[in-house]
Symmetry: C2
Subunit: 383 residues, 2 copies
Amino acid sequence: MSVTAAQGFRAAGVAAGLKASGAPDLALVVNDGPDHHGAAVFTSNRVEAAPVTWSRQVASDGRVDAVVLNSGGANACTGAQGFADTHTTAEKVADVLGVSAGDVVVCSTGLIGELLPMPSLLEGVERAAGALAVDGGLDAATAIKTTDTVPKLAQVERDGWTVGGMAKGAGMLAPSLATMLVVVTTDAVVPAGELDGILRAATAVTFDRIDSDGCQSTNDTVLLLASGASGVAVDPADLRTAVTEVCASLARQLIADAEGANHDIAIEVRTAASEADALEVARAIARNNLFKCAVFGNDPNWGRVLAAVGTTRAAFAPHELDVSINGIQVCRAGGVGEDRALVDLTPREVHVVVDLHAGDRAVTVWTNDLTHEYVHENSAYSS
Amino acid sequence: MSVTAAQGFRAAGVAAGLKASGAPDLALVVNDGPDHHGAAVFTSNRVEAAPVTWSRQVASDGRVDAVVLNSGGANACTGAQGFADTHTTAEKVADVLGVSAGDVVVCSTGLIGELLPMPSLLEGVERAAGALAVDGGLDAATAIKTTDTVPKLAQVERDGWTVGGMAKGAGMLAPSLATMLVVVTTDAVVPAGELDGILRAATAVTFDRIDSDGCQSTNDTVLLLASGASGVAVDPADLRTAVTEVCASLARQLIADAEGANHDIAIEVRTAASEADALEVARAIARNNLFKCAVFGNDPNWGRVLAAVGTTRAAFAPHELDVSINGIQVCRAGGVGEDRALVDLTPREVHVVVDLHAGDRAVTVWTNDLTHEYVHENSAYSS
């Protein structure tokens, strides 16, 4: 499972003492080749953490030999010392693995504005290197958890080749409490130049379409690594499909484990003039605190959906809008439809369908409700 | 006080039976002249309520004789019948007052997607007309409350002329639970053509700079009415200053009474390259749920401020950002500043200062924290 499902990868997860709890907090993923292709997508937040700045450079040449990930500290807003610490971490990984530091991606997640305890971290790197195993994927996925209650793993098998992955957090576009970190691996043989396009195509329709709480992290990173160890040359289109499946599974798991959420909400915007319109409308609904509170209260308050739609620039006429919630068309032609009392919001999964009647494009964005537990988790301690 | 502080205005507030609680829910404000100048600013939400559609037309010729306002129902997303009901309401007011329906502004607030109980409402209009009084301002302000715990009133006295006003809700740009409705009156003598510019200048730096929860209503309306009853001709610039003072007071009261809020947060963005940049940054912080939860938890989590700043397109360099919270510079040059433990977040009022070091423009936006009580109020019942 996880990042070691594909051949050619070893992984480990250890407790390096970065978390006060003593829980595992350092993961290492190594690509043993023969290929060492890597591609990455990072947060678009302009205030980016030191490991993001470092790893952008590492990934830019398309070669990645190893990834070291730590929870227990984001190493963001930590200035020159923070960047030096990331560099030192990569050098240490390079040293113990016998690779170049310039091929080591570094990912961090945790509190912003604190320096990492480097002696502990470097000692943890040594132990992680010693623990590397071809079945270490679960340990690695466990070590990158922050407020996640479960590790997130995914895997798809094809004819002779495999794609696997792990994730933590709650969303690329707009992660919750802390950062989203994702590592996807494959043993498919694929030209190095194809990897970046495959990863961007996959994230655009998966991680970019989940939005737990509208907030964006300084550390988000999604990596795709290819070892070629299966020996099976794969059509890039087939690999894109498989990588997208893995990313979709991980994205759905992130929403299902989002902080304090009681409902997972699929917002499907249909009959839009363009995909961009559909996305803008879906995201506006996904970020509307009043709507999200209503869902928490099992209240099918479609007026809040329309009020959110009305804030967008998408093509639509207000008197043509239709809204269904869990199969009941509560709003028809911009006005009252079926009785809202017919809507059952007790299941965890909620399906909202909005028809703009302006074209034939559709998009689904996943979000969560806004709950007491969300407020508690994000107010009760620094995170 | 309130809308009857200025000469030439009468007002009333009655219980028309629109609210199940039996609390006052219908207000009437009448301009007895000699001038009947009026200007209005409405929600920019494209899904606008029937009374907004109606009142846009009424205010467009610069003459307003009366305003009827109801709580207990937004009359939004109610189709042709909803618009007919607004029209009928204006006709009724016109009838009992002996004015033209085309000079009667209608404002509604409450649940979206429900038709108003018109017999009750029209009977209430009759009783409100009978109760009109030159000291009826407090009654009117009380009748437009929804989740407001107190009526909001303001007044400034100048040399022989007065500006007064009332408000309900939580913010023009982004009101909470329901709608923001504001009526400001003056007895100053001012050319009719000046009123619109004065109102827009005042709202731009007051109601447009409060943002309680990032949500935008379908019904927001701000009115400025001038009776000329003082007989004092006033320089438009002086009137603009006075109207801005009244609007600023009302805006501050809205934030202080926002749903479930424990803290009022002033976000001051300084040394920006432009006012637009400063506004974009301030609003991004004001809408960040993680930051708002942290303030609720008395946690000076400046990393969440920087993460919000980083989502904007404003001119700044991440390594130059400074952030102070309640006088303690917790972030200096994009990194760790003074000890965050020195910040005292126990007072209700919180002052966040962000320096972009990109110019000399500054803006302050007010918002609230995100609390358990906010979630409760917006999930426990349809609103």
